[in-house]
Every structure is written in C-alpha cells, then in structure tokens.
C-alpha cells in the first residue's frame, strides 16, 4: 500500500521534472524566434537554459534518490524490529513457561538451550547494528595486528556450525597453509562470519558450503565462500553489498535479515585495503563470495 504510494510520488516528481524541462525549452524556442538577430542575448539565453535544465534534472534525480532511500530505511526498520523483537518474544515465552508450569527435567534443559540461543541471536543482531556504526564514515581506523587467516577462518567455521546447529561436514574448509594478513581481528572475524552465516541461511535445509583461503598473487589473499543456494541474478550482484539493501522476490524473502551483513563485509574489506564481491552463475546455481585482503609484507 505505502509502496505503491511511493511509486506514485516518484512518478509525480519525474513527470514534474520532465514537464519543467519542456516548459523551459518552449520558452527558449520563443526567445530564439524573437531574438535570433541579437548574438549576445542568444548566448546568455543558451547559457541560462542549460543552467535551468541541469538544475531541474539534478533536483529530480536527488528527489527520487531520497524517496528510494526512505523506502529502504523503512524496510530496514521493519526488519530490525522483527530481528530484535522475535528473540525477545521467544525468551519471554520460555521464561514465563518455566515460571508458571510444571516442566520435566528434559524439557527444562531444552528450554534453557533455546533461551540461550535466542539471546545469542539478539546479541548478534545488536552487534551487527553497532558495528555498522563503527565502520561507517568518520570512524576510528581499524585496530591492525598480524593475523593468521586460516586459523581465524576455521574458528569462524566451527562457530557457524554451532550457531546454526548443523553438522561439521556441512561447511568444508580446505587449504590450511598459513597465510598472514594485517587486520583488525574483530572486524575480519565479523566479515568472514557474515559470509558464512549468509551461505548457511540461504542454503535452506541442504547446507553444502565450501570455504577456501588461497593467495591470489604476491599481494593479496582471498577467502572464497561457495554455496549451493538460490544464486543471485547478475543485476543484483553489486547491489546486495549496499547498506540496508535486501533482494526482493520469493526466494530471498524466505530468509530474514537486516540488510547490513554484506555492507559490513564490503566496508571491512575496504578499510583493510582489500575488496569484496560476489559471483553467481545465475538463479538456482549457487553463489560464491570473495573477500580479498592484502598479505602481510
């Protein structure tokens, strides 16, 4: 409902812009017809017209962009509301259950486990949001120290297996030859974990994730995370790294999230002088996310 309302307002502003340009052109043509003999006035006319058209075009572009941004912001607030309130609702429900009902020992242990999992989920959402603030514009530089990348990656892999309650074989990690980079431990760990979390979340019930770390050349090392998930259309490959951006469509809406994960991945890569991008053979064919860091020299 509000979505279509916004689309209408975008259409309105675009047509307003186009209309104004048309009016300016008509006025200018009138000017030319009346003053075609006078060179200086013609020159100023052309100049003024160019300025007006550029102004109107810019104005329209900015308005439309602003409306789009608002829209994404709303979607983000909705997603975050959901991501924050759902675990709280669950923690509350189980606590109340334990408080008011007679629950046998086995169930009680299970409920405690669920409460712990939900508080972890809550914590990770909060950390994700705080991290976005920390790595954003005019923030502190990363806290650089030498890191052994394979160690860090395998630590993230086992953490992901525990967190998502999947067998260790579901995420395979190869090429453990030591590779050292200079980086902020917390940030690099967050970036790798985000890629793993995405790979698991989008895989659905059949999780088969392959993780590799390998030097690309004598300057860079890459972490590749490949999944058998729904894949990504080519037009979306870049956009998914934008802040708050979430793919639309039935496949993607099955997975919940805040739209911050990949933004953090890309920001961390850039802050370390590396880069991050995605590759996919298309929908249904899985995808690969690549994170590159400069090697320690």
């Amino acid at each position: 409902m509000t979505g279509s309302g916004r689309r209408k307002s975008i259409v309105f502003f675009i047509s307003l812009g186009a209309g104004l340009i048309l009016v300016a052109l008509l006025l200018y043509l009138g000017w030319v017809v009346l003053d075609w003999r006078d060179g200086i006035r013609l020159f100023f006319g052309i100049l003024l017209l160019a300025v007006i058209i550029a102004g109107v075009t810019l104005n329209t572009i900015f308005l439309v962009r602003e409306i789009r941004r608002n829209e994404q912001h709303d979607a983000f607030i909705n997603a975050v509301t959901h991501e924050l309130k759902t675990p709280i609702a669950s923690i509350r429900l189980y606590t109340e259950t334990l408080q008011t009902r007679a629950v046998d020992e086995a169930k009680r242990k299970e409920f405690y486990r669920i409460i712990l999992q939900d508080s972890d989920r809550l914590l990770s959402t909060i950390e994700q949001i705080l991290r976005t603030g920390r790595i954003g514009a005019n923030s502190r530089p990363p806290n650089i120290s030498p890191l052994n990348l394979p160690d860090l990656v395998s630590e993230c892999v086992s953490r992901a297996c525990v967190l998502h309650n999947i067998p260790n074989e579901a995420i395979r990690y190869q090429s453990r030859q030591p590779v050292r980079i200079l980086g902020d431990l917390d940030e690099v760990r967050a970036a790798v974990s985000n890629l793993l979390d995405n790979a698991v979340k989008y895989s659905g019930s059949n999780v088969q994730v392959l993780v590799e770390t390998a030097p690309v050349d004598d300057k860079y090392v890459s972490v590749r995370v490949t999944d058998n998930g729904p894949g990504i259309p080519e037009t979306e490959l870049k956009r998914i790294f934008k802040r708050f951006y979430r793919m639309s469509g039935p496949l993607a809406t099955r997975v919940k999230g805040t739209g911050l994960g990949l933004f953090i991945v890309r920001s961390v890569a850039r802050r370390h002088g590396g880069r991050a991008w995605a590759e996919s053979a298309g929908p249904g064919k899985g995808s690969t996310f690549i994170l590159q860091f400069p090697l320690e020299k």
Binding site: M1, N78, T81, H82, K85, T86, I88, A89, S90, R92, L93, Y94, E96, T97, T100, R101, K107, I114, Q117, D118, P250, T253, R254, V255, K256
Partner: protein
C-alpha cells in the same frame, strides 16, 4: 477438544506456543508458512480449526494476505494476528484484512491465552444463541429473471425444474450484483460491500466466484449474457438482456 492452528515460521516461538497451548488442553497444529496454512484452511482437503494464531512476517505470503484470502474464500474461522509489527497502521491493516484480534510480540503468555479463550468463548455463546433467534420460516425472498429464480433466504437458484444450492458467499455476491442490476460494479466495491474487506485485497478469489456464478446462471458460461465483465472496472449484472440482433 478445541483445535488451534499456529502459523509461525520462527521455530522457537512455534514450539513454545505449541507446548503452552497443549498444556492448556488444546490440540495444536503448527505450519511455518502462509501457503500451507491456506492449504489447510481453504484447500481441497480442508481441516476444521476453532482458531488460527497467525504471524505476519512469514516467508512468501504474509499474514495479512493469508487472512484476507481466507475470508474471500469463505473461511471465517476466528483469527488472532500475533506479530512484531505494532504500528497503528499495521494493526488497522490487520483488522481490515479480516482478523478478529491483534497482539504484538513480545507478548505475555497469560494475555495470549486469555484472548484465545475469549475468542473461543464468544464462538460458543454465538452457537448457543442460534436456536433462540430462529424465526419461523417466512415466504422466501426471491428474484426472477428469465427462467431462473433466486431464493435468497433458501440459498437456492432454480432454473426451470433444476435446483442449484449456492453457498452463503455466492449468494451474497449475487444478491449484491442483482441489487445494482444494470450498473457496473467494481471489484473493490464488491470486496468492501460483500466481504467488508479492504479495497486493495487480492481480487483473484473474487473472480473465481464470478466463474462459479456464471456456471449456474448462464446458459453458456463461455458467452455470458447476465453477468458481464466490464473492462478495467469489474462486473455488471443484467437481468433481461436484449436479444442480439445480428
């Protein structure tokens, strides 16, 4: 035993709800998406439930769409929306889509159970009330066009000797179209007037009603003469179509 359908995709919440509602003595079924819920509620093999507890942010169809489609398909089981979305706009959307109650997450367990009890109790009271209100059968209210007569109160359509029983909603749609005979009626108008739903509800189910009605009242449903489509608007009922002169 009262049967409850819980539509919730967050596994932890769903299992917690199941445990508690079962402890309260209800029979609970859990599904994790709107499509399966619709399958159970309005599908071919529909299963009776006494109340539905419905989440909004579901994968695929969201809760608002699910409840609106249930209502359109004539499924009036009491529905309580249980969601993290608590803006007044969301609450209004929920009720306008056809929900009976709305509770935001996080919720208090006792309040949720009290609301479920309240809704079920209302259903019981209504059922107990029915015999008292049963009026003596009156002469049926009817409308005749061509060789067809619609008996609104009996939910029957007679074509010559044949009798077609209609469902309540089919009859309500037909009654509304007849009351506006000759004038084009928009889909949104029908949704509002007949179902009491929001105008922008998905209208495909409505078109299915028209297809069914045409089977009853048209000699050739492929070439309707009474129930005409009006392009870009909706439908128009014509009681006495003029003979086509070709």
């Amino acid at each position: 035993m009262k049967r409850i359908l819980v539509v919730e995709d967050e596994q932890h919440l769903a299992e917690g709800l199941r445990f508690n509602l079962e402890q309260e003595g209800y029979e609970v079924e859990v599904v994790d998406n709107g499509e399966s819920a619709l399958e159970l509620l309005v599908g071919e093999r529909r299963v009776p439930f006494d109340i539905v507890v419905l989440d909004v942010m579901l994968p695929g169809k969201n809760g608002f769409e699910v409840v609106a489609q249930m209502r359109l398909a004539g499924q009036y089981v009491p529905t309580l929306i249980l969601t993290a979305r608590g803006h007044s706009q969301d609450v209004l959307t929920g009720f306008e889509s056809g929900a009976d109650d709305y509770l935001t997450k996080p919720f208090e367990l006792e309040i949720l159970i009290a609301r479920i009890r309240g809704i079920l109790r209302r259903g019981e009271w209504l059922r107990r009330d029915v015999p008292k209100n049963e009026a003596p059968p009156e002469l049926a209210d009817s409308f005749t066009f061509g060789d067809k007569t619609v008996y609104f109160d009996l939910l029957e359509l007679r074509v010559g000797e044949q009798i077609f029983p209609l469902t309540l909603m089919e009859m309500n749609v037909l009654r509304y179209l007849i009351s506006r005979a000759g004038k084009p009626v928009s889909r949104g108008e029908m949704l509002e007037e007949v179902w009491g739903l929001r105008e922008d509800t998905d209208t495909r189910a409505l078109d299915n009603f028209i297809v069914r009605l045409r089977k009853y009242i048209e000699d050739d449903p492929g070439k309707p003469r009474h129930l005409l489509a009006v392009r870009g608007v909706g439908y128009r009922f014509i009681a006495f179509p003029q003979k086509q002169t070709e």
